[in-house]
């Protein structure tokens, strides 16, 4: 039998939430690559063999095989631990600052097929309030989670426009369930939410950000990749909502603001595969940056993976949840 995750370690469930094909599993698959690409000392380790195996196999498939994960067909639970450099204690008048304690947080990631976030099959004869087994389990997982990574796929929204359809039904059900459990705080859900605007590497998203003058490079980034800071990410999100195919995307932003505490929601602009870097120049090139190209009725990843803002949402959530555990409300 698979051993339980190491006992005694802080563990926080974080649920992935997003429409089909928004990149939930790909973002998880890119997590280890993103940590490896960072200069600091962050690491992710599986807390059980199956979770380790996901990291190994998916990371290899994405980085070496350049293969995206297949569409999820069930609820997957991964147990990982994030290890990172600690923060030095603040100096007190009675003691010198101590050695930084390494940061360690256990996360239980829940990856669900995007279709589970829709209203549900209409064919069931059991009435609208009765959920099928998988949706019921997914909702229970959301109830147990303290953090949510919500993925907003601007390309799908532009072409299809159903992000709200994949946010609203489970959000209503979750709120009802949490209310019944007496766990709403100030009438809102207590979760911390990292909203990830995905597919930043797509020209339509990058150029929208560029037109809004939201791009900047980090000074220590050797490739000079353009990024959108999390302060500006909300503005980009709003702008992309205006391009929605059915014009409902603004309700996504409003729903997030009304159901969750605004100070517990942070926006990130992310790309799991990042931009193409020419092997010789080793720098971002505005004239040749697409890392995903169509080929024979398929999509091909051209070069090495350079995830952008993939690990930051996890670290933000990990830190938030760890801090909350230390000083519960």
């Amino acid at each position: 039998m698979q051993p339980d995750p190491k006992p005694g370690r802080p563990a926080h469930d974080i649920a992935m939430w997003g429409a089909p094909g928004s990149g939930k599993t790909t973002l998880l698959a890119a997590l280890d690559i993103a940590l490896m690409r960072k200069d600091d000392d962050w690491r992710i380790v599986g807390s059980d063999p199956a979770s380790s195996e996901f990291l190994i196999e998916r990371t290899n498939a994405l980085s070496t095989g350049k293969v995206f994960p297949e569409a999820s067909q069930g609820l997957e639970h991964y147990h990982w631990t994030l290890y990172g450099p600690g923060e030095r204690h603040r100096r007190r008048w009675w003691r010198r600052p101590g050695k930084p304690e390494p940061f360690e947080v256990g996360v239980g990631m829940i990856d669900a097929p995007g279709g589970l976030f829709s209203a549900g099959p209409r064919r069931l004869d059991y009435g609208p309030d009765v959920l099928d087994d998988l949706r019921e389990r997914m909702l229970n997982d959301l109830v147990k989670s303290l953090g949510i990574v919500f993925l907003f796929d601007p390309i799908r929204e532009f072409e299809r426009g159903d992000a709200f359809d994949h946010l609203h039904p489970p959000l209503k059900r979750l709120t009802e369930r949490m209310r019944d459990l007496g766990r709403l705080t100030g009438g809102r859900l207590p979760h911390h939410v990292a909203v990830c605007v995905t597919k930043f590497d797509d020209p339509r998203v990058l150029e929208t950000a560029e037109k809004m003058h939201l791009l900047a490079s980090e000074p220590d980034d050797p490739y000079g990749f353009p990024r959108v800071s999390h302060d500006d990410a909300r503005d980009l999100f709003r702008q992309l909502c205006d391009l929605s195919a059915n014009g409902n995307a603004d309700m996504v932003l409003n729903a997030l603001g009304r159901y969750f505490h605004p100070d517990r929601v942070r926006f990130f602009v992310t790309s799991s595969i990042g931009f193409y870097v020419h092997p010789q120049t080793k720098a971002f090139d505005w004239h040749d940056y697409q890392n995903l190209l169509p080929e024979d009725d398929d999509l091909r990843i051209r070069g090495p993976i350079h995830p952008i803002n993939v690990v930051e949402p996890m670290l933000w959530l990990g830190r938030r949840l760890a801090a909350e555990k230390e000083s519960p409300r």
Binding site: D48, R123, D133
Partner: protein, 723 residues
């Protein structure tokens, strides 16, 4: 498994997937019955096994429907395959074909899941009415339960979820066969509540009763493929396991009888006592009412037609073994037919003989992807742990045979197990003899100790007698690999330790040099264990005046036939001539050979190594085996040889001497700073102490053996029937 002529059963179906380029989640695309579409939707949510990496796979699920308060049970089979479609994100789309079979049809005509899979899987993606299919009846003789199936059945019977681990390379068809085997050991009526999946994700929480995964999810009992599981000592599973393992149970009878128990049953507490009652009836009493004889499946349409037909007429093991040895491309049906008739000790004995006669059927098994599993099935069927008296000599013969494949060899070696384990199953008289022997030795040691104590005023000996110089001991070194440098190193190391190596005397070798795995059998026969193991590669050497690729190549007599075949395949018209090694050597010395393939450590004047065959000459491993007494003498040299590798040598003797010199050049410095190698054993106090301790330990061992329960002597604690 062709069902032509077999009774037909009705079914409904639904197809799950995505349209090409779809933005949607997986859903039902087509179905045969609108009323059942909702049921399929619910089933695919309830029995979701995760995101598969390899297809096809099969899921089995139960479904119950209610009509006017009357519950109808159904067996659902889902076949997962890849489609040609991709969704909007370019991801492959899997199709799941759901089939829904009303259970009442199976009550009068029990079938296996494999038969259902074969019949339903052959249908087009959207079958047209009439929705019926011919499915042959379950054949109890087709089931051969192993320890894993017995454990899984016992655990399922006690209401636990079971996950098979360690079956990563096992094909889906074999996994489905395993599911059939497990369910054949339970009353048929449990199929109204049974679910199984030939693959599940280790990170998915599910409710599937019997699943396969790389790691068992939390809360699910793991059973190791091919091995079984420790059965928890709860009342139900242990009881069921004990009943199933009773060797006087006739499995075809048991399975046939259980297949007739078709009243719907559940795995929960309410029906558990009924399930156990049924099994008890089947195992301990004469079956009250054997069901009607199940119709034999019709002959297969494949090339193994004859094998199946022979099996129905009740063929002998020998006939089926002959059929397996002569099987064409796919040996599975012939092997299944052979294993299906092994019900008595004489059957198993005949199979063990057949393994020897037909070289473990390796000519038909080796090309198969699941060859290890096939070998394992054969060996575990022929060599039952309780029948060692029957197969001990056959096992020895197979181990000694050069052609015995490695998987068989490993399995046979594992059969021996640690001595202390087997001791518990010895016959009483042997154990008593052993116990008395130990006590006699203990008394002798105690007497010697007492005597030494009485003579305690004797002056202690100042110096131990020098050990018997081993230089008089002749050690026979046999080199089967024709490795002159390694042989020279071995001989030199033995000389340094005072032995007299010889390769001419007659008798059993004390040191054996050969290629892995060919040498393993000979090592086992001579009770030698490996002390050195290092890689080497044969090389092609070509006479310097030879232009172009040679027309003739000399090789040693032990040169691999498969390698020769490969070379000839790539170099048409080439002549490969086998010669005894001495003759080959002489031809090289005389410069008569155009070219030769020789061990990598050989050099010859007038010949130059060529890379022309490097891709075809595989790396091999040289193994040096020796008796335990010689290990200390050889280990330093073998360790260093392993680190440095086997090198080319013009003069193996001189190079080996220099090599061994290098090892022992540090010895004096070490010796001067350390304790003497052997402490003189002259102190009578030490002798008394040692003698007393040995006597105490031996006496204690004897006492323990005496006080153990008599039942243990019969081996009944393991619950196994002794022949």
């Amino acid at each position: 498994m062709n069902g032509d002529g077999a009774p037909r059963i009705g079914f409904e179906w639904a197809l799950e997937g995505k349209e090409h380029g779809s933005y949607d989640e997986y859903g039902l695309l087509q179905w045969s019955n609108e009323r059942l579409a909702g049921v399929f939707d619910e089933l695919r949510a309830r029995y979701a096994a995760g995101t598969p990496s390899e297809l096809p796979q099969v899921t089995i699920a139960p479904a119950a429907t209610k009509d006017n308060d009357e519950v109808s049970h159904n067996v659902v089979l889902a076949i997962h395959t890849w489609s040609d479609h991709r969704d909007f994100a370019g991801r492959k789309v899997a199709y799941t074909r759901w089939f829904y079979v009303p259970y009442h049809q199976l009550q009068g005509h029990p079938v296996s899941y494999r038969a259902l899979y074969a019949a339903l899987g052959a249908l087009p993606p959207a079958p047209e009415p009439p929705l019926t299919v011919a499915v042959p009846a379950l054949d109890p003789r087709d089931v051969m339960p192993g320890s894993d199936a017995l454990a899984a059945a016992a655990l399922l019977a006690s209401g636990q979820q079971v996950c098979l681990v360690g079956a990563d390379g096992v094909p889906m068809a074999e996994r489905l066969r395993f599911v059939d085997t497990v369910m054949a050991l339970l009353p048929y009526g449990l199929r109204t509540r049974f679910s199984a999946a030939t693959w599940t994700s280790s990170t998915t929480k599910h409710r599937i009763k019997l699943s396969f995964a790389r790691y068992a999810p939390e809360g699910i009992q793991a059973v190791q493929w091919g091995q079984g599981a420790d059965i928890p000592l709860d009342k139900h599973s242990a009881t069921y396991h004990r009943i199933l393992r009773k060797r006087d149970v006739d499995y075809p009878d048991l399975i046939g009888w259980l297949a007739g128990q078709t009243e719907p049953l559940s795995f929960n507490d309410a029906d558990r006592s009924r399930v156990f009652e049924l099994l008890r009836q089947s195992a301990f009493q004469s079956p009250p009412a054997r069901p009607d004889p199940v119709p034999a499946p019709p002959p297969a349409a494949s090339g193994d037609h004859g094998v199946v037909e022979v099996a129905h007429r009740g063929p002998t093991v020998a006939a089926l073994a002959r059929a397996l040895a002569g099987a064409s491309a796919d040996p599975h049906p012939a092997l299944d037919a052979l294993l299906a008739v092994l019900w008595t000790q004489s059957d198993r004995s005949a199979l063990a003989d057949a393994l020897y006669t037909y070289n473990c059927f390796q000519h038909v098994i080796e090309p198969q992807e699941d060859r290890d599993h096939l070998y394992e099935r054969l060996v575990s069927a022929a060599f039952q742990p309780d029948e060692e008296w029957m197969w001990a000599s056959k096992r020895g013969a197979l181990l000694a045979a050069e052609d015995t494949p490695d998987p068989v060899r490993r399995r046979l070696k594992a059969l021996a197990g640690p001595r202390w384990r087997r001791f518990g199953t010895w016959d009483r008289r042997y154990r008593l003899a052993c116990t008395i022997g130990v006590l006699v030795v203990a008394v002798a040691f105690a007497g010697a100790g007492a005597l030494q104590l009485l003579r305690g005023d004797d002056p202690p000996a100042q110096q131990a007698l020098p050990p018997q110089p081993p230089h008089q001991q002749v050690v026979l070194v046999k080199d089967s690999a024709e490795q002159p440098y390694v042989t020279a190193v071995v001989k030199e190391a033995l000389r340094r330790a005072g032995y007299q190596p010889d390769d001419q005397v007659q008798g059993a070798p004390s040191v054996l040099i050969g290629y892995d795995p060919d040498i393993r059998g000979e090592l086992a026969v001579n009770s030698l264990t490996p002390v050195g193991d290092f890689p080497t590669q044969d090389i092609l050497i070509v006479r310097d005046d030879q232009e172009g690729f040679p027309g003739q190549i000399l090789v040693g007599e032990g040169f691999g036939q498969d390698v020769e075949d490969q070379i000839l395949k790539h170099h048409k018209g080439l002549l490969i001539i086998r010669k005894p090694y001495d003759e080959l050597k002489n031809q090289l010395i005389d410069g008569k050979a155009e070219a030769a393939i020789v061990p990598g450590d050989v050099k010859a004047d007038g010949y130059t190594p060529s890379e022309a065959l490097d891709d075809l000459l595989p790396e091999r491993r040289i193994v040096v085996g020796a008796g335990s007494a010689l290990k200390p003498a050889l280990e330093p040299a073998m360790d260093r040889l392993n680190k440095e590798g086997v090198k080319s040598s013009d003069d193996p003797q001189a190079d080996a001497k220099a090599f061994v010199d290098l090892i022992y050049s540090h010895a004096p410095a070490l010796a001067s700073s350390a304790k003497p190698v052997s402490e003189p054993v002259g102190n009578s106090g030490d002798v008394i102490l040692i003698t007393t301790v040995v006597a105490a330990v031996t006496g204690l061992a004897g006492a323990l053996l005496l006080v153990r329960r008599p039942s243990r002597f019969k081996g009944s604690l393991t619950g196994r029937h002794r022949a």
